[in-house]
């Protein structure tokens, strides 16, 4: 009996503390976290993420911060190890002035820390974790500015129907999880869009010879050949052998094919006019991003593609904190609410950002490119509509 009372008192204390601890006057300070693998094999892209978020923080501070208070950007290094990711999460959660986190960029670490951030109502906005299940577990604090893996299938179907105007489509996919899933989502999308003349076949990655299955494709006479293979060399063989067999369908490859050397150069002309999709935009072609790109390149050097979403994520987070701070004090719950209300946010990614109720980027975003000469020319971006 005594024990039960102790336990319930303890629990009541915990509930009270966790309910009270996270509301504080703005003047005490504003911390934002950045969780990622800043050391180890993924250090380069993660530091690009941190530096890009830092540019956003610097811009806010240069404008006078939030309610006159300077924002402090805190790094939390998980070294790509889920155990350390959990430590980072505990550290951030324990910091009373921490109102939101950019990251973690990796799906497995995001998964390991979901519960910790979630139970503290601390907003996290990832810029790269694309595993669909992350937003299927009912957590309210988890958002992403990058598309889920499975958004690309529907967007590719839209591209095939609306941009390429295809009526007959051949889909070849490699027998690995990512490619099979991509194929499944695309086929479901095509069907939904009313395209029923579809041929689907499988290929083996690294087989070097796709002529028998491409001969079959040729007899089907499709308007578009969607070639879903993982690597650029396999895609190069696909486009080359399709041309050699005289298949005049539009060749449409996956993100793996966005490789100048191993796709365009390796196919020796066969890839001219071919299309590919990719999860990242060509940031240099977006006028709104010019200022960010200039700042990044002046301060940190070459930009690879992981930075822009982080700049966007930090700005979305700071905008929400700014709204929450209007009344003089901030709580994590308020920040969470404002982030979830993000609707049609116009940033530097080339399309308006809206979060759906799960925290996913509404419609996702898939970018399409066409091979022209020795380069990829940006064509369009599909966001689920």
């Amino acid at each position: 009996m005594k024990k039960t009372i102790h336990v319930s008192l303890f629990l009541a204390a915990v509930v009270c503390l966790s309910g009270l601890a996270h509301s504080a006057p703005v003047s005490k300070g504003i911390h934002v976290g950045n969780a990622g693998a800043f050391t180890g094999d993924a250090a380069a892209p993660c530091n690009e993420i941190f530096n890009s978020a830092q540019i956003a923080v610097d811009e806010w501070n240069a404008r006078g911060g939030i309610q006159g208070v300077k924002i402090e950007h805190v790094m939390g290094d998980d070294a790509m190890d889920p155990a350390q990711g959990v430590n980072v999460a505990h550290k951030f959660v324990a910091d009373d002035l921490m109102y939101g986190v950019v990251g973690p960029p990796m799906s497995h670490i995001a998964q390991a820390t979901l519960k910790i951030y979630g139970s503290a109502d601390l907003v996290t906005i990832t810029t790269a974790a694309s595993k669909p299940e992350l937003t299927e577990q009912g957590y309210k604090h988890f958002f992403r500015v990058n598309a889920r893996n499975d958004a690309h299938g529907w967007n590719s179907a839209l591209f095939i129907k609306n941009y390429l105007k295809a009526k007959r489509v051949a889909v070849l996919n490699e027998k690995v999880a990512y490619c099979e899933n991509m194929s499944k989502e695309t086929l479901a999308g095509l069907e939904k869009l009313g395209i029923t003349d579809i041929m689907q076949e499988t290929i083996v990655g690294g087989a070097k010879d796709y002529s028998p299955v491409l001969t079959k494709v040729k007899a089907f006479k499709p308007d578009v050949l969607f070639f879903i293979a993982t690597t650029a060399p396999d895609q190069a063989i696909g486009v080359r052998q399709a041309k050699e067999l005289g298949i005049d369908a539009v060749f449409f490859g996956t993100e793996g094919a966005r490789d100048k050397k191993d796709f365009i150069e390796a196919s020796e002309g066969a890839a001219q006019g071919a299309y590919v999709y990719h999860f990242a935009p060509d940031i240099y072609s977006i006028p709104e991003a010019a200022d960010y790109v200039r700042k990044y390149e002046n301060q940190y050097g070459v930009l690879s593609g992981f930075g822009p979403p982080a700049y966007e994520a930090m700005n979305i987070l700071l905008s929400a904190i700014d709204k929450a701070a209007q009344d003089g004090d901030i709580s994590r719950k308020e920040v969470l609410q404002y982030v979830s209300q993000t609707h049609g946010y116009q940033g530097i990614l080339g399309f308006p950002i809206t979060f759906d109720p799960k925290g996913d980027l509404a419609g996702g975003a898939t970018y399409f490119f066409q091979v022209e000469g020795q380069d990829f020319k940006p064509i369009t971006v599909m966001t689920g509509q």
């Binding site: 690294g206 028998p212 690597t231």
Partner: protein, 310 residues
Amino acid sequence: MELYWQQLPQQLVNGLTLGGVYALIAIGYTMVYGILGMLNFAHGEVYMIGGFTGWWVLHLLTRNNEILMNAALVIALMLIIAMGVSGLVGIMAERLAYRPLRNAPRMNLLLSALGVSIFLQNLILTYQGAKVRTFHIASLIPESFRVFHIGSTVFSFMRTLVIAVTFLLMALLTILIKKTKVGKAMRATAQDIEAAAFMGVDVDRIVVLVFLIGSALGGAAGTLVGLLFTQVDYYVGFQAGLKGFTAAVLGGIGSIYGAMLGGILLGLTESLAVTFLPAAYKDVVAFVILITVLIVRPWGLVGERIPEKV
């Protein structure tokens, strides 16, 4: 149904090219088995090294996407040097890894061959990396010359070349074995290595020759596939070795004509299977045929039914 018939001629061309290559690889397996009774698992790697050698020759003879000499000469050099290097690798494997074990139990030889295979694969991985090498063949054949049509069937220059070279090499090998004294010695050694030695055949030389010829043909196959499919990497030997071995068993391991027939049949089976069934069943069909043949004729299609030697 019409959909099937119209692809048939094209699938025959596809199958014949692939089958020719399988046959060249299978010959290497079968010749060694015929004489030593061992499966040379390193043969797939010899094929891969042939591919890399061909790539290097082409690479060294190309400047700014233009070849430095006549295209026919470049292709000939690629083939000859690849055959030479692969032949040398085969001989070295025999001398260093197989000859010391010739009188040891078969299992030791088999394991030694497996070791050579792993060694060669990792050697290439270390020195050439895991990246795929692309054969830049555009400068070898002028655009207008690259493909030609007969009816609705497309022949590429490279396919025609591969078919021609494979059949030429197989014809030369047949003549060597049937008409020359060395060929006679090879046949004698295959029949009974000890009796051949008693009759004055230099058995060691014949074994070396067999490894040289078998490996050189494997090397030629590597370069031909490189020219045809335009890529080589350190791992291509595994799949090719498996297919070559299957072809050799299908035809009757130990029989050179069996290897030729088995290779071509396997290539045709694969491309025809894709025509009539989902492509995923390609290998299923190939191996179902292999198993069926082995049940009905365990000695293979052409192989001889040899009573167990006592």
